[in-house]
Symmetry: C2
Subunit: 173 residues, 2 copies
C-alpha cells in the first residue's frame, strides 16, 4: 500500500499538469464542471519541446515536456506567472534499454521510451482553477482521465514550486 | 585514451546526425564542400519532438530528438528511406539530479537536463552525402562543428541501422 501510494504520488507529482477543459455542454459560463482537467488538449503532440525527464527508481520513466505556443513564449521570455491559456504537457513512457543501440555501443547504456504510461497536463485558467493555484491538472492513462481522488495529490506537491508558479520543469536551452 | 575513444565514438554514435549545409559561397553547384555538415540548421529548436534519449554510464546524458516537418511526416507515415530534406536533430545535455524534484519525491530519483553537451544532426541529401549513405552528419559543441577526424566515426556506426535508413531513433507515440 505504501508503495502504491508512493507511485500514485510520484506519477501525479513528476509533472502533474493540467489540460484545457472546454465548458461542458449546457454548463453555464463561469461554473467549473470539475476541479481538474478531463479532456485531452487538441494537438498537443505537435507542440514544441520544453525539456526531457527521467525518473529512476520504481517509476523508471523517460519522457518529454511539451508546451503550447503560450507556454513556449512564456518560458523563453521568462514570464512569471505563466499567462492565461498556458498548457504544458508531460508525455511519460517506460525507460527501457535499447538493445539495438547497445549492440553499437558494445555495452548496456542506452535507454529509450518504451510503452507509454501516462500523459499529464497543466492548464492555466485562473478563474476556473482558482482553488488549485490557477492551474488545472490532468492525468490520462490510455486516453482516460484519472479519478478525482488521485487528482487531489497534484496541487499539494506543485504548490511547493511557488517561485516558478507551481511549475517544476525548466526550459532546456 | 581508450576512454576518450569510447566517449568520442559514443558521442558520435548516439544519434550522430546531419545538418543542412547550404552551398558554400562560390561553391559550384553539385560540389560538396565537406563530407559532413558544418552549419547549424536554422530554427531547429522550434521543431517537433520525435523522442527522448538517455545514455547511462560515462556518457550520462539526457536529451531530445527533434525533426523538421519532412522528418515528422516521414516518421508518422512510416516512409523509408527518409525523403530528401529530412533533418533530425539530437539535443544532448548532462543527466543531472533535480534536487527540487527529489525534495518533493522524498528520495533521489529525478533527473533533468543539465549543461548542454552537444547538438547533432542528420541531413538527408543523397547527392551531396552519397559517400555516407545519403546522410550528412554533424556534431556541434558550443556552436562549433566537430573536426573532420571525429566525424569519420558517424557513418560506420549508423550504417548498422540499414533497415531504418541509418536512423536509430524511433518515433515516440
Amino acid at each position: 500500500m505504501k508503495r502504491l501510494t508512493f507511485l500514485l504520488v510520484a506519477a501525479a507529482t513528476t509533472v502533474c499538469l493540467i489540460t484545457f477543459m472546454a465548458s461542458a455542454p449546457g454548463q453555464p459560463d463561469g461554473q467549473s464542471a470539475a476541479p481538474y482537467v478531463t479532456e485531452i488538449p487538441h494537438g498537443y503532440r505537435d507542440w514544441r519541446w520544453i525539456s526531457s525527464t527521467h525518473e529512476a527508481g520504481d517509476l523508471n520513466s523517460l519522457g518529454a515536456i511539451l508546451g503550447n505556443d503560450v507556454a513556449i513564449e512564456a518560458y523563453r521570455e521568462g514570464k512569471l506567472p505563466f499567462p492565461e491559456g498556458t498548457i504544458i504537457a508531460a508525455l511519460h513512457y517506460r525507460n527501457v534499454p535499447s538493445e539495438e543501440n547497445n549492440r553499437v555501443f558494445g555495452q548496456a547504456q542506452s535507454f529509450v521510451p518504451g510503452a507509454p504510461t501516462n500523459i499529464q497536463f497543466m492548464v492555466k485558467d485562473s478563474r476556473r482553477y482558482a482553488a488549485t493555484g490557477g492551474w488545472g491538472f490532468a492525468t490520462f492513462t490510455d486516453g482516460k482521465p484519472a479519478d478525482a481522488a488521485s487528482m487531489k495529490s497534484c496541487f499539494p506537491c506543485h504548490e511547493k514550486a511557488k517561485d516558478t508558479d507551481l511549475v517544476f520543469t525548466r526550459y532546456a536551452p
